[in-house]
Subunit: 119 residues, 4 copies
């Protein structure tokens, strides 16, 4: 039974941000023309939260285009369209994490890429 | 017992957009610095949806500032911070609607301002 | 240029509720086993809002089952899984509205079924 | 530069669940009468997700009551109303985490309570 270390907190905080942005923005109306604007605002929202060092959001334009409704010419943001790279800096630890659509699992997978000590 | 008229559909569609944007974006992280970006993207999202003629989103910067967390220096978008002006054009009818925080009721009130026939 | 009538307000309020529940609950984790619980709570949430006379939510269990992730055995609520019947009572007017997935349009369509005067 | 351990993944997954439920359910209409139903469904939604061992959701009924709109007699779920206890089991590691409103910080704080090895 142990208390949380600096490293624990860094990856925990990364999970919070990825889970949070996912459930905040999935369902938002999107089209090929608004991909860029929506990606930037998701980044801005994440950057405001504690311990975020950097974040990059990409939305799969091919998927968006394929999902455009034929009559109304837009669709909704789905988890599988999202690619997010996130760095959390907590004290001297950087957690590099990611949200990527895993085609084989058919699942928007969040994972830890690496953990760095910067002392 | 009657079927829906053009006018009914115009105001119904306006309600859909206001209810939708509210529950999509409330809870998003926001600070004084990101008000503009978030307002523009909410407008873009609404503009994609059927029959929207125009939409203007304003977020109350005083409220945002007052709600900034002292330690983490941001807050969350709340319904009472939102001011939205929306025009729906369905065939020859324009419905002018609004979301405004009603201080007396302490409620983010959605209402129809006027309905116009443009034949 | 006209002001809103009782009938206008009834259908406007119906739109608010349908747009709102959609963007509040889409994205929630769901499985075949939790369909019933989630449907009931969406109904309860809608019933709290002003002027709701009745609401019935059905979630398409076949779609949910088909969308279950093979490894993790659940999926997310999507708009196309939702079927909602809603009655708004504003003064003496009842607006009967619906959210139904339209297969041909491939779109979760919200519509006014009929409007009733109950004097 | 290191790869993720079992322990890292356990706390990361805990963060995902807390961040996710927060941004999925904040904003939902709630009243004193629906607290129980909404708490149970949030628990059910979280239990569906990978590696969740247990979850308990409590919603502060005093806060809900205080926030009830006087005219419409309900309010919206806010982060500060939520108390969540979560256990993630990943392989042989249990991460005990929590979401609690921190009055001093005026912030819905997510934290790791302890980490257990169950070999």
């Amino acid at each position: 039974m142990e208390e949380a270390t600096e490293r624990d907190i860094a990856v925990f905080e990364a999970g919070i941000k990825l889970g949070g942005l996912y459930h905040q923005f999935v369902g938002a109306p999107i089209s090929v023309d608004t991909i860029d604007g929506l990606s930037r605002i998701i980044e801005q929202c994440v950057m405001l939260q504690p311990y975020v060092r950097s974040v990059g959001v990409t939305i799969d334009s091919e998927m968006v285009e394929k999902k455009h409704n034929r009559k109304f010419d837009y669709c909704e943001l789905e988890g599988r369209m999202l690619h997010v790279s996130l760095q959390i800096l907590y004290k001297n630890t950087i957690a590099h994490c990611e949200l990527v659509y895993d085609e084989e699992l058919d699942y928007p997978l969040m994972s830890i890429k690496k953990i760095e000590s910067i002392k």
